[in-house]
């Protein structure tokens, strides 16, 4: 049967067909839908892990115990999971183990553009790169086989355009592999120095040479002969762009297995073609290898290092194609950045804190609430990675004290991010004595990536009930003083303002937990469907105070302030800030 699938759906299908039994992930664009789709197959035990390191470790244990396991994450997630990955490369597998890294050239919704192919030579792992959805499915199956044949976890690198593009896939049947016998083998599975020294030699002298041989002979690496004037070595989505541009007017060495790279194949190909190009997104990973072999090629001299490639970029770079004729309008088009939704529970707390924004430093984190930085709220000085909303705040506070800056640090972190890597930071803040305010924004969901369950929601990915991890109990348990903890409803501005003031005036570590579910959760939408606020035009004095909360439902047009009923969910933050009581609430209860 043929079906139109995204790369992520196809990866999930590949895991299913390959007899995978365990799959773990932490959500992150563009990888999230991999596990969401895997969880549709009841033959596979699927888990949202608390973070990527946990996910990779769970998959490692499952593999050693004898099951085929898969773990998926976005590119920056692999930084978190790098620790177990490097050592699993030494230990090797029992059941096959596949690690998916979903990279983001173009940083559509990420903090950087790192090229995770470089992890493969660094960790000495086999690396596979599919180009389209059919290959996503097929290569996952290959990867499990490679993993078991060569006793190594296999890294599969995909990118946004592979993950989120749809193309046609031929579906196959699931092969039941079952669970392999586990035999205790401490020289393989306990990496104390005595064992790791031996393992490293084994990898260099045995595994990698065998994998190199495989790379030269596998169907994943293939030459497509066309016109030999131009030869192109390429991989991933870049292969499709190159094919689009050159068709059969060039020859291709299409790399699907990219660590170790196929040296003999590259030499053979380079020998036959007149001019050799390497076309790849982001880093010159293949190019550096080719050049190190002493083979002349053209790569990053012409092909951009930053951002995504496209056929057009390749045509302009190599064929010097001129800009295509198009249309233009003489209009100054304002940007349309993402914004906190109408009814977003983060708005109330950010509005309350925004009144202090000249007196504080705010360290933000990864999630919808990073958007608190946007005007008009403008709360956010720095954002680095998951967890740094707390920990970078600790460091900032140290220096503020040394420099007598008299600026309190407010660190922001969401519920899922708190479980991911905020708890260790919180403990550090207590342990090392920190005079900051930590605001934990509990909206009962992993929102930014499209609503995944997490340890605080009381449900797992299979929809089963689980214990709800209580954030307030954790905060108390690690030693934050009870008088320095406030749990508030951010829809209630009085309560929120009071907590922010107390936090600002306090000494020592102070924690505010805001509790109100994300406005986009289906149950919340259903419950608040009939609720909305409305401007009483007779009373409105057009002071525009309500516009300062940055709600996308409120607009000022033709000298009239109005609220879009379709977007509004009756959160009433605007009503509470209006100095003239000209906003009215409609609905049965608040």
């Amino acid at each position: 049967m043929k079906k139109l699938l995204t790369g992520n759906e196809a990866i999930a299908r590949g895991a299913y067909e390959a007899g995978c039994l365990i799959a773990c992930a932490y959500p992150g664009t563009p990888s999230t839908e991999i596990l969401e789709n895997v969880s549709q197959y009841e033959e596979i035990r699927s888990e949202w892990s608390t973070n990527e390191k946990v996910a990779l470790e769970v998959a490692s244990g499952a593999s050693i115990a004898g099951a085929r396991s898969l773990v998926a994450m976005k590119h920056v997630g692999l930084n978190v999971a790098a620790d177990p990955m490097f050592t699993m490369a030494y230990e090797g597998v029992n059941g096959g183990m596949v690690i998916i890294t979903a990279d983001e050239p173009g940083t559509h919704s990420s903090q950087n553009e790192q090229d995770n192919r470089l992890y493969a030579p660094h960790a000495k792992l086999a690396l596979v790169e599919p180009s389209n959805s059919q290959e996503c499915k097929d290569f996952v199956k290959y990867a499990f086989e490679i993993s078991e044949t060569y006793d190594t976890p296999v890294l599969i690198r995909v990118t946004t355009r592979v993950c989120h593009s749809k193309s046609i896939v031929e579906l196959g049947k699931r092969e039941e592999i079952g669970i392999k016998e586990y035999t205790k083998d401490i020289r393989k599975y306990i990496m104390v120095p005595a064992n790791s020294k031996v393992k490293h030699v084994e990898i260099e002298n045995e595994r990698l040479p065998r994998l190199k041989e495989y790379s030269n002979t596998t169907p994943l690496n293939r030459i497509e002969w066309g016109d030999k004037k131009i030869g192109i070595i390429t991989s991933g989505i870049s292969y499709l762009h190159a094919k689009e541009v050159f068709g059969d007017k060039a020859s291709y060495l299409k790399i699907g297995f990219s660590y170790p790279l196929p040296d003999r194949l590259i030499k053979e190909f380079a020998h036959e073609v007149e001019t050799l190009y390497v076309i790849e997104e982001n880093d010159p990973y293949i190019e550096n290898f080719v050049k190190a072999m002493g083979i002349d090629c053209i790569g990053k001299e012409l092909i951009p290092m930053c951002g995504e490639l496209s056929p057009q970029i390749i045509r302009q770079a190599i064929l010097k194609e001129e800009e295509k004729e198009s249309y233009e309008v003489d209009i100054n088009v304002p940007a349309r950045p993402p914004a906190l939704c109408a009814g977003c529970p983060h708005r109330g707390i950010f509005y309350a804190v925004s009144k202090y924004k000249d007196k504080i430093i705010s360290t933000s984190d990864i999630g919808c609430y990073t958007l608190g930085m946007s005007a008009p709220l403008g709360v956010g000085d720095i954002s680095i990675c998951m967890g740094a909303g707390i920990t970078a705040g600790i460091g900032f506070d140290r220096v503020n004290q040394m420099a007598d800056r008299n600026k309190k640090v407010f660190g922001f972190i969401g519920d899922s991010t708190f479980f991911h890597s905020g708890i260790t930071g919180l403990i550090d803040a207590v342990y090392n004595g920190t005079n900051m305010v930590i605001v934990i924004l509990d909206n009962r969901i992993t929102a930014m990536t499209g609503h995944q369950e997490n340890p605080g929601t009381g449900k797992n990915i299979m929809g089963q009930e689980t214990p709800m991890v209580d954030i307030e109990s954790i905060v108390k348990a690690v030693g934050v003083k009870e008088e320095n903890i406030r749990v508030i409803d951010p829809y209630k501005l009085d309560e929120t303002n009071k907590a922010v003031k107390e936090a600002y005036d306090s000494e020592g570590l102070f924690v505010i937990i805001t509790k109100q579910p994300c406005a986009l959760i289906k149950d919340v939408q259903r419950k608040r469907k009939e609720l909305y606020c409305e401007v009483n035009q007779e009373k409105c004095r057009k002071c525009k105070t309500c516009l300062k909360i940055g709600c996308p439902a409120i607009s000022f047009k033709d000298n009239v302030v109005s609220i879009d009923k379709a977007q509004c969910n009756g959160c009433t933050v605007c009503l509470q800030v209006c100095p003239f009581e000209s906003i009215e609430f409609n609905g049965e209860s608040r």
Binding site: L4, H164, E325, S326, Y327, L520, P552
Partner: protein, 189 residues
């Protein structure tokens, strides 16, 4: 012959559903199809784009400047933003809908006047759709995207595919009737 179609809009407008129905129909018709979407943070009211390319054999899903045969804008400011992707003599289908981005709402930028007029002056093949009005008249404001689907099916000349069946497959039964009406209305414009 490969056709390139670029859909642009604002997160929450239902562009992704339209792309889904469209590509399913094209596959059923026997075309090779590549569809690529950029969302992620767009659920929070940002710009959303979907690129669809179809023909006998399609390699890359990407559409560059001056390469779209049809540009479908679910909001008029987005039409202005992406107009450079439309190829000369390509068709622009634009919903006469105005959605303020955050910088405009917060008074930091101005929503430009006369977008539709400027587009009309510049683009030869332009179709302006009053999707909101049509959807409101049908009593389902959320059917705007299906009105747009009807219009773009006509613009692409692919009316022969059974779109009604696909709408039924992709939407819950209680909204079938209103969306089929919305589609037919879009098709008739």
């Amino acid at each position: 012959m490969v056709k390139s179609l670029l859909l642009v809009g604002v997160g929450g407008q239902g562009t992704i559903l339209v792309s889904k129905i469209l590509s399913q129909g094209l596959v059923k018709e026997g075309y090779d199809v590549k569809m690529s979407e950029i969302h992620g943070m767009s659920q929070r009211g940002g710009s959303v784009t979907t690129q669809i390319r179809f023909g006998e054999k399609v390699y890359s899903p990407s559409i560059g400047m001056g390469e779209a045969d049809v540009l479908v804008a679910f909001e008029k400011l987005e039409a202005a933003r992406y107009i450079k992707h439309l190829k000369k003599d390509g068709i622009l289908v634009v919903n006469n809908e105005e959605m303020y981005p955050l910088p405009v709402l917060s008074g930091l930028a101005k929503y430009p006047d006369g977008i539709i007029e400027s587009l009309k002056d510049s683009v030869d093949n332009i179709k302006i759709i009053e999707a909101r009005k049509i959807a409101e008249e049908l009593g389902e404001i959320r059917a705007q995207n299906i009105v747009m689907l009807g219009s773009l099916v006509k613009a692409l000349g692919i009316e022969n595919i059974d779109w009604i069946e696909l709408i039924k497959e992709n939407l819950p039964e209680r909204v079938h009737e209103v969306n089929i009406k919305a589609f037919e209305k879009g098709l008739s414009l």
